[in-house]
Amino acid sequence: MKSNLYNHPFFISIIVALLVNINGIAQQSDLSNYRTRFDFKTVKQVDNSRLLEVTFMALNKTDRKDQLPVYEAEIQFFNILNDEEMLLGTSKTSNEGIAQLILPENQKYRTDGEGYINLRARFNGTAALSEEEGDLMVKDLHLDLNLTEIDSVKTVTLTAFTVDSLGVKTPVSDVDIITYVKAMLSKMNIDEGTISDGEYSFTMPQNFAGNPQGNLTITSIIDDNDEFGNIIQEKTVHWGTFNKPLKQDKNMLWTKAAPIWMYVVLTILLLGVWINYIYTIANLFIIKKEGDNLSSEPKKNYTVK
């Protein structure tokens, strides 16, 4: 039997073109096309715990958009001093390629002579992926956020200091800090400044709505500082001026009786129309009466001829 396909060269050529198209061939994953990125960072969190985080990605060398997370990779986190490694913990990368380890506030760290904590994250490598390692050194900074209201002036005060092995507090200087207010979807920047002699303060702008209870969450962040890394401090305070509606709207249409204006409008409209009808009918009676008066006169008939 002869195939009908030969009768349709146009469609055949399209199918053939699709079959030989390089994009139509299933791609093979070839790791030689990728290089890996191993980012290590630390964040001192609101509760003074410390987050150690590694982002492990495979990036295509030619296509920047092609980024693959390396998941289920075991990452070891160390505190190091003089080439001696102390294991802090291990964590596996998630489906997004992120491994996290949270160390509690009372975690003891070994520090060097200058007071730096030296941290290391390591991936030991597999047959397919080579070993990766990242180092960090940060000083442990204590950041306090104080919110005070004196004579209706709301003031945000930030104090920052380091504590040495003897327990002596040393105020820090030249550290940039940004303060935000938490909004429904994102953070709203309200102030940017620099800590000097361990302190920075500013007057809180007025008229933030806050949540329905009138609470505001204020967050101060030291972002990627060379010496101290990332530090976040946060507090919630009843400074919001959430305006409750004075009177809850009632849907008048659900009530038993309609709003008065509705009765008024309807009555006016109906009266207007029906009075006109009555007037018209009255006129018809007058016309009839006029006709009755004429009835004594001879009527004119139109004869069809």
């Binding site: 008048m252 249409l253 009530t255 009786a257 309609a258 709003p259 509705m262 009765y263 309807l266 409209l269 109906l270 129309v273 029906w274 006109n276 009808y277 007037y279 018209t280 009918i281 006129n283 018809l284 007058i286 016309i287 009839k288 006029e290 006709g291 009755d292 004429l294 009835s295 009527k299 004119k300 008939n301 139109y302 004869t303 069809v304 001829k305």
Partner: protein
Amino acid sequence: MQLDNRKRELVKEFSPMLEKTSLLTKIWIVTLISIISVGIYAFVIQFKEGHIVTGMRDNVVWGLYIINFIFFVCLSYSGAFISGILHFFRTPWKNSVTRIVEIITVLSIIVGPIFILLCIGRLDRLYFLFLYPRIQSPITWDIIAIITDLVGCFIYLYLTFIPDFAILRDSPDLKLPSWRKKLYKYLAINFQDTPDQRKRLHNTTSIMSKMVIAMAIVAYTVLAWIFSLTLQPGWNSTIFAPDFIVAGLYSGVSVIIIAMYLIRKYFKLEKYIVKSHFIMAAMVLLVLSLLLGYFTFSDYFAKWFSHKIADIDLLHTLFGHYFWMFILANYVGFIIPLVILSIKKLRTIKLITFAALIAVLGLWLNRYLIVIPTLETPYLPIQDTRPEFIQYTATWVEWSLSFAGIAAFLLFFTLLIKFIPIISMSGIIDDERRKLKTKEDANKSISYK
């Protein structure tokens, strides 16, 4: 005396319409009665079995009946509007069409509300609407508007008929049964065409013509609000009220064109219904098609652009399941009349009538698309997934009753034009009287010089 002769001529000219019933007319009447009988049978079934014999279910609670209701009621309002305009502006060519318009107005306001009664599941509770009306409800407003409009249209129609009844009463040689002559006498209320009576009747009719224009706008708006004041996707639109007015006028003018064509053809009234009547109506229809097309586009474009989930679901339904109906209603229904009416060479009587026919069909489908797809895409997902609960399909009962409604409209129209001349004789006489007076005034002014 000259005018009395003219009256005689007119009675002589139109008497065959009133006196004789041709075989074709008889067949036509029997056919219409047969269609109505099938409709009555369908109604009995619906009354006994309930709405289960229709395609209406828990979600799609409105079907063909409400579409026909909107269509007929809009037709009536547009008739009242056009008739009022014709009378108010004393349009010189109105005599040939005004009676057609008035009859369409009254008959459609009678037939339209019957469909809403068919839509009510518990007719035995109908009186609750009057016992416990909720003034807040647009349904109550609509009932008030329809009843008021019905009474107003009857009065207006009667006012325009009185002088013709008087002419027919004063024509003893008309070969009509005595009951009809008595009826003409009774309905003519002793109108003797005196200047006083004429003036009074004219003033009253003039006021009523303004009233029916205002009432038509109010009633149209209330009808549109039944839909647009609900939060249903596709209905909650501010453009609905003006859109209903324009759509109603569009269908009204189209039906008038079709009626003019058929009446002109059947009664051989080429002398009275001339090409210029069709051209005038075509121009009005052209403007209305442009306006309605613009309103429709604006409404759907706003829905598409705002990208609200419910509206997008509705648009998916319209462009999916109802794709061809949407094309027919909103493209073919506007574009074909637009092309025919905007090209001068195409503006022949037959093509104008064809354009009007397309416009009527397109507009009926447009009403279908307003009602059904919206009810098929509610805010909450439909719980019962049986196909008949998700998609509406009209049953034979609904189609029978729909056709019965159309047949009843046509039957009443046929009977009414057997009762009163389709061309207003008194209107022609009035025009000639006015011309005569102008001529006399002109002669007087010449003689004074």
